[in-house]
Subunit: 300 residues, 2 copies
C-alpha cells in the first residue's frame, strides 16, 4: 500500500478502471478522470468549492423534468454541445449544409403538414415563407426528404413554455416535393432567453451573460442514405446574432426575410435557403440532442 497524494490518486483510479470490458468506454472514462483530476489540481479546488460544485450538479439533475433538460442546457452554455457538434460536423463541413444545435425543445411526433402550410396555429404577426430545395452535394434534388421545423412564437416562447403538456404548436413535419423543393409559412420567431429560473440560469447570471439566443428556426432534415442534418436558420438582424449564449450561430446559417419574386407564395416576404445533404457513412448518424420528453421517460 502507498500513501496517495493528489497525483498518485489519478494513477490508482486509472489502475482500478483498467478492467473495463468495453474499450471505448474505458478510453472515455480514462480521459474524463485524467481531465477531471487535472482540473482540480490546476485550480487547487478547496473542499468548500468542491461541495458547491456537488450542490450545483445535484440541483441541475433535480431540475430535469419531462419537459426540461437542464443538463443539456448546462452543456449548451458551457460550449460543450457546440464542441461535440463541431467534431461531428468536421467531415461533412465542406460537403453538406453546416449543422447547429438541436437544443432542448425538439419533440418527436410533431404534426405532419402539407407543403405551404402555416406551422403557427394563431399567428398574430406578419406571415413569412421559408422555401428552397433539398439536394445532395452534387446539386441533385432529394425528393421525399423529411424536414422537421420548430421555433418560438413571435413572443419568444416554445409551445412547451407557452402551452400546456402535449399541446404542440410552432412546429411541423414536411416532405420535399419530387424536385426537392420545400416551403412553409410561419411568423418570424422572437429571439429569447434560455430558461433563467434554474441552476444553469443562475450560473449564466453570475457570469454576467445576457442568456439570449438570436431569433432562429430549427430544422432537422433527413433522407435515406444521407447524413441526418441538424441545423437552424438565424435571422441576421437580431441584436444577439454575434453573442449567442449557446454558441450555435455560423455565418453560413444566417438569413433574412425579404421581398422575393421567387417565393412560391406571392406577396409574402421570404427566406430562401437550400439544404445540401451529405452521404451517410455507416454508423455516422446521431444528434447532439434528443427529445427531452422521451429522455425523461427513459430515465424514469
Amino acid at each position: 500500500m502507498r500513501d496517495l497524494d493528489e497525483f498518485t490518486v489519478t494513477d490508482e483510479a486509472l489502475a482500478q478502471m483498467a478492467g473495463t470490458a468495453n474499450p471505448r468506454l474505458k478510453e472515455i472514462l480514462d480521459a474524463a478522470v485524467r481531465h477531471l483530476h487535472a482540473f482540480a489540481r490546476e485550480v487547487n479546488l478547496t473542499p468548500q468549492e468542491w461541495l458547491q460544485g456537488i450542490q450545483f450538479l445535484t440541483a441541475v439533475g433535480q431540475a430535469c423534468t419531462p419537459i426540461r433538460q437542464e443538463f443539456i442546457l448546462l452543456s449548451d452554455v458551457l460550449g460543450l454541445s457546440a464542441v461535440v457538434n463541431a467534431l461531428h460536423d468536421k467531415k461533412a463541413r465542406e460537403l453538406g449544409t453546416q449543422s447547429s444545435l438541436l437544443g432542448p425543445f425538439y419533440r418527436e411526433g410533431a404534426p405532419e403538414m402539407k407543403l405551404g402550410e402555416q406551422i403557427v396555429r394563431e399567428p398574430t404577426a406578419e406571415e413569412i415563407v421559408i422555401y428552397g430545395r433539398i439536394t445532395d452535394n452534387d446539386g441533385k434534388p432529394v425528393p421525399n426528404a423529411t424536414i422537421q421545423v420548430w421555433q418560438t412564437s413571435e413572443r419568444g416562447g416554445y409551445d412547451l413554455q407557452e402551452r400546456k403538456g402535449d399541446d404542440m404548436d410552432m412546429r411541423g413535419n414536411f416532405r420535399s416535393a419530387a424536385d426537392g423543393t420545400y416551403y412553409f409559412r410561419t411568423v418570424r420567431p422572437l429571439g429569447y432567453s434560455i430558461p433563467m429560473d434554474g441552476p444553469v440560469g443562475g450560473l449564466v447570471k453570475t457570469q454576467g451573460r445576457h442568456g439570449m439566443r438570436p431569433s432562429h428556426i430549427h430544422c432537422l432534415v433527413g433522407a435515406d442514405g444521407y447524413r441526418e442534418l441538424v441545423t437552424a436558420l438565424y435571422f441576421g438582424d437580431d441584436p444577439h446574432i454575434d453573442s449567442d449564449t449557446v454558441f450555435g450561430v455560423s455565418e453560413s446559417l444566417v438569413v433574412q426575410a425579404k421581398p422575393d419574386p421567387g417565393c412560391p407564395i406571392p406577396g409574402l416576404r421570404a427566406v430562401h435557403y437550400d439544404f445540401r445533404l451529405a452521404k451517410a457513412a455507416p454508423g455516422e448518424n446521431g444528434r447532439v440532442g434528443a427529445d427531452p420528453t422521451r429522455l425523461a421517460k427513459e430515465i424514469a
Copy 2:
C-alpha cells in the same frame, strides 16, 4: 461573426465568461471549460456518447434523496474526492494526522456520549475499544476536543441503510478528557459495498470493479484554533485494504484490534490511535463532504 470549430468554440466560451464578477469563480469555470472541451476533443466524443453522458448525469442527480448523495458517490469512485482531499491535506500532511474521506454517511446531531460508552445500540459481535490521545503537533494534550465517530454495523450497513429515517445508531459524539485522552466501545464494523443499485453502482460494475470499501471507522476531530480533522481508521486485515473503491486508505491510518494492557477497559481487545491536530490557518477549515440530509434540505 466567425464560423466556430471545435477549438474556437473554447475561445468564444471563455470570452463570453470574461465578465464573471467573482475572480475565483471565473478562474474555476475557465479551467472547467478548458478541460471539458479538451476532454471532448481528445476522445472525439460522438453525439450518441454525449447523450449517454447527459442521461447518466441526469440519473445521478435524480438518484439524490434526503438520505443519499449520488453525486458525492460519483466524485468518490472517480477519485475526485481523494484528489481534493489530498490538495487540502498537503499543508498539514507532515504536521497533523492524515485525513481521509468524509463519505456520504456523516450526519449532524449524533448522540452526545460519555467517554467509554458503546456507540452500537444492540451489539451482536465482540466489543472492542478505540482509545488514545488528542494532542497538538508538539504532543501537548488538547482537552475538550470533539470526536465524532460513525461506522457500519457488524453486518456492513450504516444506520441510514439499516434503520428508518432519523433513527441514529453506530455513531456518537465524544469530548476528550483534561489530559486529551478519549475512549469508546464499539464492534468491529464490516467492510461494505458502496450502494450498487444506482447509476454510480452501474458504472462501477461496468468497469469491473468490486465496489467494496475496507472495514473502517470515520472520525471527525475538532477543537478551537485547530484544523478540523476528517479522517478514518482502517482495519489492516480487511481483504480490500489495498483496493478501496473510493481511494480513502493511507498507510498511517491502518490499525488493528489486539489485546492491549494499556486499554482503559480491561479484558477487551483495543485499537490504540493518537490523533494530532494541526493549528488552523485563517479560512482553512472545510470538509470534503457534508451531511447529506442537510444538503438535501438546502437544495430543496
